[in-house]
């Protein structure tokens, strides 16, 4: 399950770009690898995030995983529902399980990300190893 309208990172984040705004989450593959998510740590609105740097983390019972921002920019909103219902990331990773919304400071960064086909191939290639 890799929606075609999104862009992807090698660290299994996705971003949905709408003009100068991007919504970020983790992929279905990532949530599957992590298992039941129990806690999410996110930045605050107004914080600055940088491409390829950690913007927070998601935790399952036995693993914690940094979330690397696909782009640089200012955090416009965070998904407040996740504090009480982190399982939304498991049940709806591309929808209600979104993490943060940012305003892009450099729209060109998006061009370096993978398309859905590229990401699907990347995941398949990793699984083969």
């Amino acid at each position: 399950m890799v929606p075609v309208e999104l862009q992807y990172t090698k660290d299994h984040e996705w971003i949905r770009v709408d003009q100068s705004t991007g919504t970020i989450g983790i992929t279905d593959h990532a949530q599957n690898e992590l298992g039941d998510i129990v806690f999410v740590e996110l930045p605050k609105a107004g914080d600055h995030v940088s491409a390829k740097e950690s913007l927070g983390s998601v935790e399952s019972v036995k693993a914690v995983s940094d979330i690397y921002s696909p782009v640089s920019g200012e955090v416009l909103a965070v998904n407040a529902k996740l504090q009480d219902k982190p399982e939304l990331i498991n049940t709806d990773p591309y929808g209600d399980g979104w993490l943060v919304r940012v305003s892009l400071s450099d729209p060109h960064e998006v061009e370096t990300l993978m398309s859905s086909e590229e990401y699907a191939a990347y995941v398949q290639d990793k699984a083969a190893h």
């Binding site: 129990v38 806690f39 935790e59 019972v61 693993a63």
Partner: protein, 466 residues
């Protein structure tokens, strides 16, 4: 070799089964040049009676016949025999950390009870399943406080146990943290003026102890108000947790940590002891060490598991909240059993006995000409007296009576010459207290005190040497 269950014949059969000629073959991965050519130079082997003889002799050379009024973070309390009886069950003391929850429910439930008891006692929302000891608990509490504040500034009361402060210094030395010491006033309590002045420099994390090292109970509620008013964070360390049975707990603090040795753990020349750390609910994900949580099994039955493990080093590695891997389960179990035995009323009655005996001793000593109470603040079972120029002679005379009369505060506080820190628990008999007082009278009468010395404090660092 009495601990080894393999017979020579079995060893040979096992070697055959794995296709080896000799045991030496199994060690071939270790280059020959790195292997020992001869036996280690060690004592033994000894039979059981020889081992006991060896340690009995060491025990006899450890003054078992002395009466001691030493406290200073390690307190002699009576330990009900049921404590050791239960600790000696192999299922408890020979088990590992309860990672396999289904066959470790005993340890897990007991730790859940320990967490509850510590939370009730400290007035906090949650407590962990214990840390190494009071000194490391205080240190971990400060590291936790800094994480919460996102800060780099720690205020430490000078009246916090000197060895706790030394451990804190060791842990903070490479952390780029500014540490400021807050002195104590003539009452023995934290100097609030100095505190307020330091708080003006920006939010900080304060570590204060109550009862503090010189015995004084701190106004933790007022202190908390001041620090939190300046957007800081308050950590209260408690080295004598029995005090919490009669003293208002520091419920306004953000973190309460300390040493629970008083609860059924032997003094044992310094360890093993058991640290605790309790906090407000909102900080739970920053708590270091193990946490046990309640949950259900697949049939809906109540059970317990280690939880929030992602804080810990085996998952987070260098990003963990702490490098602590173990807790002090067996000592925490001792405390749980002890507190269950004493219970709500027993613990309070015990604390009141400590209060009564310590106050009796303090009054009787202060009535001896040449002796005065060092501080005016209220105290629990430990207090400081001042006996100008006579402290060494007094302690020596008490030694002749087989009494360890207390701790010279000068050892840690050069400005507190002539001061003795005295702890009196329920184990002190009145006859021994009276004997101590008589010795004071005898020594001081034989050699009347000089004219009153100026009590001027001399600022100084904190030597460890004696």
């Amino acid at each position: 070799m009495r601990y080894l269950p393999l017979s020579p014949g079995e060893r040979a059969a096992m070697l055959r089964a794995i296709g080896r000629q000799s045991i030496q073959e199994l060690f071939e991965p270790i280059p020959e040049s790195l292997r020992l050519s001869g036996p280690l130079k060690l004592p033994g082997p000894m039979s059981e009676p020889e081992i006991l003889e060896f340690f009995r002799r060491a025990a006899e050379e450890s003054s078992p016949d002395y009466v001691s009024f030493l406290g200073a973070g390690a307190y002699s309390h009576y330990r009900p025999v049921a404590v050791d009886s239960l600790l000696s069950r192999g299922e408890f003391f020979t088990a590992y950390t309860p990672y396999q929850a289904e066959i470790a429910q005993g340890t897990l439930q007991a730790m859940f009870e320990f967490q509850t008891l510590m939370a009730q006692l400290t007035g906090m929302d949650v407590a962990n399943a214990s840390l190494y000891d009071g000194s490391t608990a205080a240190t971990e509490a400060v590291l936790m406080g800094l994480r919460i504040l996102g800060g780099r500034r720690v205020l430490v009361a000078r009246s916090v146990h000197p060895e706790y402060r030394q451990v804190l210094r060791t842990y903070l030395q490479h952390q780029d943290v500014e540490t400021v010491e807050i002195p104590f006033s003539a009452s023995g309590q934290l100097d609030l003026d100095k505190l307020e002045k330091e708080l003006k420099a920006g939010p900080a994390c304060l570590l204060v102890q109550s009862p503090n090292f010189v015995g004084a109970l701190e106004p933790t509620s007022k202190i908390s108000g001041l620090v939190q008013g300046a957007e800081g964070l308050v950590i209260v360390a408690v080295a004598e947790p029995l005090s919490l049975a009669v003293v208002q707990p520091p419920t306004e603090a953000d973190i309460v940590c300390g040493e629970a040795q008083s609860f059924g753990v032997a003094v044992a020349y310094g360890g093993p002891y058991v640290g605790f750390l309790a906090a407000k609910a909102q900080y739970v994900r920053q708590v270091p060490g193990r946490l046990v949580g309640e949950t259900r099994d697949t049939e809906g039955r109540r059970g317990y598991v280690l939880t929030l493990a992602t804080r810990e080093q085996h998952i987070r590695r260098e990003k963990a909240t702490s490098n602590i891997c173990t807790n002090q389960s067996l000592c925490a179990l001792a405390a749980t059993i002890y507190l269950a035995l004493l219970g709500k009323r027993g613990l309070k009655a015990l604390a009141e006995q400590n209060l009564a005996k310590a106050h009796y001793a303090a009054q009787e000593l202060a009535a001896v000409p040449g002796v005065s109470a060092a501080f005016t603040a209220p105290f629990f079972n430990e207090f400081s007296i001042r006996a100008p120029r006579k402290v060494d002679r007094l302690l020596a005379a008490l030694g002749d009576e087989k009494i360890i009369g207390g701790l010279k505060l000068e050892r840690f506080y050069p400005e507190l010459k002539d001061h003795v820190l005295i702890a009196v628990t329920e184990t002190a008999r009145r006859m021994d207290l009276d004997r101590m007082v008589r010795t004071y009278r005898r020594v001081l009468a034989a050699d009347p005190p000089p004219a009153r010395q100026s009590a001027k404090a001399t600022p100084s660092g904190e030597p460890v040497a004696r």
